[in-house]
Subunit: 440 residues, 2 copies
């Protein structure tokens, strides 16, 4: 076993190199993968990679690889191809699978219906344990994706309960399925959002969850291995939105330069237009700046502190909402807590800011005769700006969710922009109150 | 089955209310959960919640619930309790489990050794299929967590191959295990990082991965249901770091106010100290500002555009590195692409900025006789600042990873701060080149 012939192409190496290969190189090297491991290699590709490869192969080979896929995976591959090739690909499937794939294509990709596999192991409640085990044994010959759980259905396909293989193996062979099955089961509907499905898997440690319709008729199962990908995709989307861009939906190097530019320019432009209000706001205080240029020096420091505390708060709440650790109705509780946190954080930064200005004044005389008043202005403004940043950053995701938007759209840069404009107003208002009669 | 007696407490409702309950309320309501569903309810709690509940229950009850847990889950619970209670809890376990838990406690929580379960289904290569199935049937009585795969071991516990239950069920009963087992299997070592393990699960659609030592002796298995939680935790950590704070490691409401403040104040202070350089930089250009106050008006617009484009780029690259879509060696390729993207994005924003200034000048005469030069200064600075922001934002995660840090520490606010200071220098340099002799 240790002494194998040298293989023309090692699957793991090819897998690593895959993203860097051109379409033709992929086809050529795929053909060099030894037959025995080609199946595993093909199944290790993402749906998009499988789709690209299948389209690049000749029609004869297409069928082999398409038919290797379970119906839910075939759906993902077909959805990843251009619309005008889909009918041709569907025709390559056998009749049963084609009907199943057709039905699955009707579901949105991001709900339980789009994730589910219509093939699952089933038993009848009145079977004995031994009958159930040998019945399951027969079903595995017909391409059931997982036999970890067997679902107990009545003749009208209503879901009555579930038995795990472990339960079947542990029970006395002459008991009946209905005596050992568990009736208290977690189910989802076809329309349950995939984020909700993944939260169920994360909290319950299940291998599979059955999908049922409104009459509790069983439609299929969602298995946990499909969920790992979903969780990663959802997290990637959230991270990209938090970072201030549209979700990319594909790996970095696989997105064309112009498509990527479009996804990034959109948000940057919106933020830029919002940020233009800072020029307007600064324009209102032009006279104050002309009289006391020293005020302008601290503008970047003050608005960025508001922006940073706002990004922190918004990121924290977005993730807590996504994981259901914080609910919509917790809004007031969060607000109270964040105001306190904001005042505390603002006081810390304000204190450091005051010390910085007084020390510089002492050694370099940087800020003129009214340095103490300038220091106070900066310190107090920081308390105000950081509190406001923290509060608005934490409340924005709630507001977005309440309006029906994705809370993750309250990206860190979006909050920073919002807080920049109001931060300027806070700063110059504090300045005109404290410095009137001296600098202003 | 549809007509059940009304239950004192419905598990699902209690599960939903759980985060909001006090310690005593949790204990009281847990005791009211009907015996038949209490097991499932307990298993649906997170390790931290299980640990809190177990500590709050009397010693007699502790044993029941601790012993319900598989060894790897017991380890998580014990790790979630204060260090001085751990010995007492270990003593509640039966001898075999205690030894296993002891061994597992030696592994770091975030590598494969810390995730693995030492109990798995095993068969011998020379067994017939029928012998293997009935041997597996016997093993499930000894608390094997999953029987989806059976691992084929020689007498020295070396891993030779794996058979899925589906393969056993499909094969002729008198064939031998070694004839049907698959020898080409994915394994990890005890020291494989959990992020690498979760990437394997995501790309390969497996239910379980065996953990082997350097001599390929089998130590345990990692199952996919444990990985869903890992993926979510890692994503949460990344999102929180991207948002500019230390990872919280616990749900929002379960972190004490002071602990949360500490995690947030640390980063904010670092960013604040960095941002103080903007005051120093602005100080260098104090004379220019005094002569042309109009320049100060665009400072927030310009530095925030650099910050926003930098956050975008850094977030994108952090996530691509985390998912291995981009490798460390792709640095130059990314740099070339991001410089182009930066110039394009900067040109778009610069163009819009020039139009905005000229339109305002036309209608309100806001920017004096040299408005065209001011517009050009702002436009050109935007190209420079956005390009620099995009490039440094995308390169910082590479630099951090190369230095051995977590790329996610290159948070959006961190990049924004870095770009703020250099953005000011770019802006005032462009201004002094373009405006010398007119405004300056």
């Amino acid at each position: 076993m240790e002494t194998q012939d040298p293989e023309p192409i090692f699957p793991q190496e090819l897998r690593d190199a895959w993203p860097a290969l051109s379409r033709d190189e992929r086809v050529e090297s795929f053909k060099l993968v030894p037959h025995a491991t080609a199946d595993d290699f093909f199944l290790s590709l993402s749906a998009q990679e499988q789709a690209d490869l299948i389209l690049a192969l000749g029609p004869g080979e297409r069928r082999t690889w398409l038919r290797l896929l379970a119906p839910d995976d075939a759906v993902d591959v077909i959805q990843a191809t251009p619309a005008d090739t889909r009918d041709a690909l569907l025709r390559e499937l056998d009749d049963t699978t084609r009907r199943e794939v057709h039905a699955l294509l009707a579901y949105a990709e991001d709900n339980a219906g789009g994730l589910m596999n219509p093939r699952f192991a089933r038993v009848r409640p009145e079977m004995t344990i031994d009958e159930a085990i040998s019945y399951l044994r027969r079903q595995t010959r017909e391409k059931v994706e997982t036999v970890y759980y067997a679902y107990v259905l009545d003749p009208q396909q209503h879901l009555l309960g579930v038995v795990s293989l472990r339960q079947l193996f542990q029970s006395a062979p002459d008991k009946r399925v209905e005596d050992v099955m568990s009736r208290d089961l977690v189910t989802v509907s076809e329309h349950t959002d995939q984020e909700a499905v993944s939260r169920l898997f994360a909290s319950k440690s299940l291998m599979a969850i059955p999908v049922v319709d409104a009459e509790r008729r069983m439609k299929g199962i969602v298995t946990v291995d499909d969920i790992v990908q979903v969780v990663q995709e959802e997290a990637t989307e959230d991270i990209q939105k938090v970072g201030g861009m549209e979700a990319l939906d594909a790996p970095y190097f696989e997105v064309g330069f112009l498509a990527m530019l479009k996804k990034r320019a959109g948000w940057l432009l919106v933020l830029f237009l919002g940020e233009m209000l800072t020029a307007t706001a600064m324009g209102h205080f032009e006279d104050e700046i002309a009289r006391a240029v020293v005020l302008a020096l601290f503008v970047p420091l003050i608005i960025s502190s508001g922006g940073n505390s706002g990004s922190q708060a918004t990121t924290l709440i977005i993730r807590s909402l996504a994981l259901n650790e914080v609910r919509l109705r917790d809004g007031w509780r969060v607000a109270r807590r964040e105001v306190l946190a904001g005042v505390a954080l603002g006081a810390i930064l304000g204190g450091v800011g005051i010390v910085r200005i007084l020390v510089w004044q002492h050694f370099f005389g940087s800020y003129g005769e009214h340095a103490v008043l300038v220091a106070l202005t900066v310190g107090l403004s920081l308390v105000g700006v950081v509190t406001w940043g923290t509060l608005s950053g934490s409340m924005l995701p709630f507001a977005l969710r309440r309006l029906g938007f994705d809370p993750a759209s309250a990206s860190a840069p979006f909050v920073a922009t919002l807080v920049d404009v109001s931060g300027l107003v806070i700063y110059f208002t504090v300045a005109s109150l404290l410095l009137r009669g001296t600098l202003l």
